[in-house]
């Protein structure tokens, strides 16, 4: 090992499997041995550029059920790639156990090294240890569940044809962001085998209880009071209001066949699976970027990589963490890599060499001389919103030159509310944290009423915050999808969250 340490592991761009294996070992030694990362077992898969494009279109998952929207994504990505307008990612990593890392054939050896330090160490550690992922996703079951989903969708297509399956999936996809239970406690774990059995049981039961006779029974008309009583009881039974619209439809839509409910469930499970990723973009990428930076530098110190490789690495790294200003041409929002990386580097600095300011701002960990411990703790117990709220330091705000802008539709001008100065730090930090809170970014839409016995009308309510209404056209289209699943009239009420004042209403009927 000592002899190895003095000699670079590789020189030049060529790679082979043995070299990747040896380099991985060196990386793991630093990542696990020195930085104290705790990892899922890694599986590194080498793929071609075409396969990378394929993987893109199925939201990065190794297998996915078939749907035209993935084809659409593929068509666009392919064209962008061929035009040269966009280059491909160097890796894709999947939150699964074992953790699957896709790396591209075209990468140089330095890139492969960087990619392994980034994904196989950084992302992997984050997936395994962050509380959101622990709570919401089951890394060991996702691959099997995807296989189940793919098979199930294929079976449905065979049984009822492409069209009807597509219609249900379209509708469910439209509600994907409303298919997440944000506040529910610990969920039942899903077990793919049980899923299959449950689905089979559902079908068997339907066949069992089917009796031609029931169709011929006349329905006795009920009195009005009875109905309202029933309604109230029903609402209680339905546990309204419900924020997870997909869940509600799956359980309560009156007209859905079993297989349709199962399809909705599949989309819902996926949506739930991806929910943590949406909430931890900055942290996840920051963690991975921080890890690759630390590991590459440590490897250089140990003489395991050459100066040439370091130059190549520095070039890539600089591109990854580049943050253009708001008025520059390439600006497209805050770069999560840049922000996450800068914050984590800064945490390290605060732990090791705190300034007076840091001592005031972060008395609990400034100067504790344990940067890795502090970071591991942050990675485990925060999401973007709380992480920024807790850890964004004045120095990073100054470095990014962050400022807070308020745009009130009623005013002719936008107002700079706060900048990176003594008076503004806390305000800017609070606003930035809010910007990363997914639940305030997504519209808050809940099922508030459903009349199962009478008109069968479903009522959704959008609780409007800050006067920001839904995009009308999109909303109407999406509502059509809700109506298709629900089977009857659907109304969406937009009311102000604070005052309860009704602002706008949309209503739609399912197409025959």
């Amino acid at each position: 090992m000592v002899a190895l340490a003095n000699k670079p592991l590789f020189d030049g761009p060529e790679w082979n499997f043995e070299l990747i294996g040896r380099t991985y070992d060196a990386i793991e030694e630093i990542g696990v041995g020195e930085m104290g990362l705790s990892l899922y077992k890694n599986q590194i898969e080498v793929i071609t550029a075409e396969q990378m494009l394929d993987a893109y279109s199925s939201i990065g998952m190794p297998q996915m059920y078939r749907h035209w929207s993935f084809g659409k994504r593929f068509a666009r990505d392919e064209m962008m790639y061929k035009k040269g307008a966009r280059s491909l990612a160097f890796e894709i990593v999947i939150n699964s156990d074992p953790c699957i890392n896709y790396i591209m054939e075209e990468n140089s050896m330095t890139m492969q090294c960087l990619v392994m330090a980034h994904a196989a160490m950084g992302h992997n550690h984050f997936f395994k240890n962050n509380y959101l992922f622990k709570q919401w996703t089951q890394a060991d079951a996702i691959l099997e569940y995807l296989a189940f989903a793919k098979r199930f969708v294929a079976e449905c297509e065979e049984k009822v044809g492409l069209g009807p399956v597509e219609a249900v999936l379209d509708a469910a996809h439209a509600l994907m962001n409303q298919g997440v239970s944000r506040t529910a406690g610990a969920r039942r774990r899903f077990d793919p085998r049980k899923e299959r059995e449950r689905e089979q049981a559902r079908r068997d039961y339907e066949i069992e209880i089917y009796n031609e006779l029931w169709r011929t029974l006349p329905n006795a008309p009920k009195k009005e009071e009875e109905r309202t009583d029933e309604n109230r009881a029903e609402q209680r039974a339905l546990l309204l209001p419900e924020e997870n619209i997909l869940y509600f439809l799956e359980k309560n839509a009156p007209k859905l066949d079993g297989w349709k409910r199962e399809l909705i469930r599949i989309v819902r499970v996926l949506s739930q699976y991806f929910y943590p990723q949406r909430q931890t973009k900055v942290m996840n990428e920051g963690c991975a970027t921080f890890c690759h930076y630390e590991i590459m530098n440590r490897m250089y110190e140990k003489g395991q990589v050459t100066e040439g490789s370091m130059l190549e690495f520095a070039h890539m790294h600089a591109a990854v963490v580049y943050q253009p200003g708001f008025n520059e041409k390439h600006y497209s929002g805050l770069n999560p890599y840049a922000l996450g990386y800068a914050m984590m580097r800064d945490i390290k600095r605060i732990c090791l060499e705190p300034s007076d300011e840091d001592m005031r701002w972060f008395p609990d960990f400034a100067g504790n001389q344990d940067p890795m411990g502090t970071l591991r703790e942050a990675w485990a117990n925060y999401r973007d919103e709380s992480f920024i709220l807790q850890f964004l330091s004045p120095k990073v705000m100054r470095d990014f030159r962050l400022f807070h802008l308020k745009n009130d539709a009623d005013n002719p001008a936008m107002r700079v509310e706060a900048i990176h100065d003594e008076q503004g730090y806390r305000k800017v930090r609070r606003m930035l944290a809010r910007q990363y809170d997914v639940s305030t970014q997504d519209p808050d839409i809940q099922v508030t009423d459903a009349d199962l016995a009478g008109s069968r009308r479903l009522v959704l309510t959008h609780f409007v915050r800050d006067g920001i209404l839904l995009d009308k056209e999109e909303c109407d289209r999406t509502l059509m999808h809700v109506a298709r699943l629900w089977g009857y009239r659907v109304r969406l009420v937009e009311q102000d969250a604070a005052t309860g004042r009704k602002i706008r209403e949309h209503e739609t009927l399912p197409l025959p």
């Binding site: 499997f17 996809h173 030159r401 802008l405 936008m414």
Partner: protein, 425 residues
């Protein structure tokens, strides 16, 4: 840790998804292809096509915040000289000002969706309208004409195929290698001997030595041949069966006012199809557009399809024009000549005789195939003048064919009939 090589796994896992997407967007794509066809030239049908579709059918809606209204907060990087409390006037016209209200990441806010159809997908859509049975595409007749093609050199062959340069190059190399005395050296030596002999008194020893050298050189020249059988190289030719590489396609059309825009569109479809067909078989396809009223002229494509002229209809003028162009530019020995004539069947009655004579005596002997397409808005009974006149020709000559077309759906079947009959001929 585990390393897996997935590079050999089946590619295009997304093919199924792509097909679903194309199927889904078919109606839109068809419209887009139709648009593209109108813009496109006859000779350009086959390139892969960038298609822009209005994404009605491929839109993925979701509940999103609208772009304007309300109170929005942004935190932006890169502040230069703003201070708290500064007011920034909103840009004119745009409601939002800031860019925070962008559409969701998957771009569901976009209106037009641009992507590239592969050539096959494009032709599929193109032919779909024309009711192309999938199998026939490849069955259409191949026109093979074995041609000798250079295939390097060989050491054996008829004298006529001797590769002289190659042979001499080898000979030169051999002569240098074996040090065969050069003619100039011999001449110089003989000259030297003569000079020495002319001296008085002659240097006998030197002369004897020189003479011996000369004798040795002469002997070497005799043993080492100037061109040896091992030097010989012959050109080698293989018979390669391949289609004659060039074809010319004559498009003739009646441009008089009775040809409506629709009829021209029909004819254009036919010409396009013929062009696709020909360019699959020939390396180079020239297209000649001739339009006629009571006079005929060679024109460019734009004028051919777009221009309207007034005047009577004398078909023979176009045929004469074609005859002239063939004689001038496209010798039947070098070119495969195809002619497609489209008209609504109208002609001056006493012109038909001249037409038939022209086609039969001048054009048919030179052409591979002559197709006459009669386009009409509706398939009424009765024969037009041209139809009647050409009927007897079609009976006498197998490579003359005529069909009637009333709507785009018929074009491919008609086309297929025309060319499958030629295949059996």
């Amino acid at each position: 840790m585990n390393i897996v090589d997935r590079r050999l796994n089946p590619k295009s896992k997304s093919l199924g998804n792509r097909q679903r997407f194309v199927r889904r967007a078919k109606a839109d794509i068809r419209d887009a292809v139709k648009d593209a066809l109108k813009k496109r030239k006859v000779t350009e049908v086959e390139g892969s096509e960038k298609i822009t579709i209005r994404s009605k059918s491929v839109r993925e809606p979701s509940f999103n915040h609208g772009r304007d209204g309300g109170v929005r907060d942004y935190v932006l990087p890169g502040n230069q000289d703003y201070k708290a409390g500064d007011l920034i006037p909103k840009p004119q016209g745009g409601g939002g000002g800031g860019r925070g209200g962008k559409a969701s990441a998957d771009g569901s806010g976009e209106d037009d969706f641009v992507f590239t159809l592969s050539k096959d997908e494009f032709l599929e859509v193109f032919f779909e309208d024309l009711k192309l049975p999938n199998l026939v595409k490849n069955r259409l007749k191949d026109l093979k004409n074995p041609l000798p093609q250079r295939a390097g050199f060989t050491s054996d062959g008829p004298p006529a195929k001797l590769a002289r340069i190659r042979t001499l190059r080898r000979s030169l190399a051999r002569r240098i290698a074996l040090k065969r005395p050069k003619t100039e050296d011999m001449a110089r030596l003989e000259e030297e001997i003569a000079r020495h002999e002319a001296e008085t008194p002659p240097n006998e020893v030197l002369i004897a030595e020189l003479k011996a050298r000369l004798a040795r050189m002469t002997r070497m020249r005799q043993t080492i041949a100037y061109v040896d059988p091992i030097d010989l190289q012959y050109n080698r030719f293989d018979k390669v069966a391949r289609p004659t590489t060039q074809a010319v396609m004559f498009c003739m059309m009646d441009a008089s006012a009775s040809m409506t825009e629709n009829l021209k569109e029909l004819a254009k479809r036919f010409f396009m199809l013929l062009h696709v067909f020909l360019s699959r078989h020939y390396k180079e396809v020239h297209v000649v557009f001739i339009r006629h009223t009571s006079t005929a002229a060679e024109v460019d494509e734009e004028t051919f399809f777009r221009g309207v002229e007034t005047g009577g209809t004398v078909i023979s003028t176009a045929l004469e024009e074609m005859d002239r162009i063939v004689k001038e530019r496209y010798s039947p020995a070098d070119w495969n000549i195809y002619a497609a004539q489209a008209s609504d069947g109208d002609n001056i009655p006493d012109d038909m005789g001249h037409c038939i004579e022209l086609v039969e005596n001048a054009l048919l002997p030179a052409s591979q195939y002559f197709a006459y397409i009669e386009v009409s808005e509706h398939s009424g009974p009765g024969e037009t003048i041209v139809w009647h006149g050409y009927s007897e020709l079609a009976q006498r000559h197998k490579h003359f064919a005529m069909r009637r077309v009333t709507n785009p759906g018929e074009i491919f079947p008609v086309f297929h009939e025309l060319f499958s009959s030629s295949a059996s001929a």
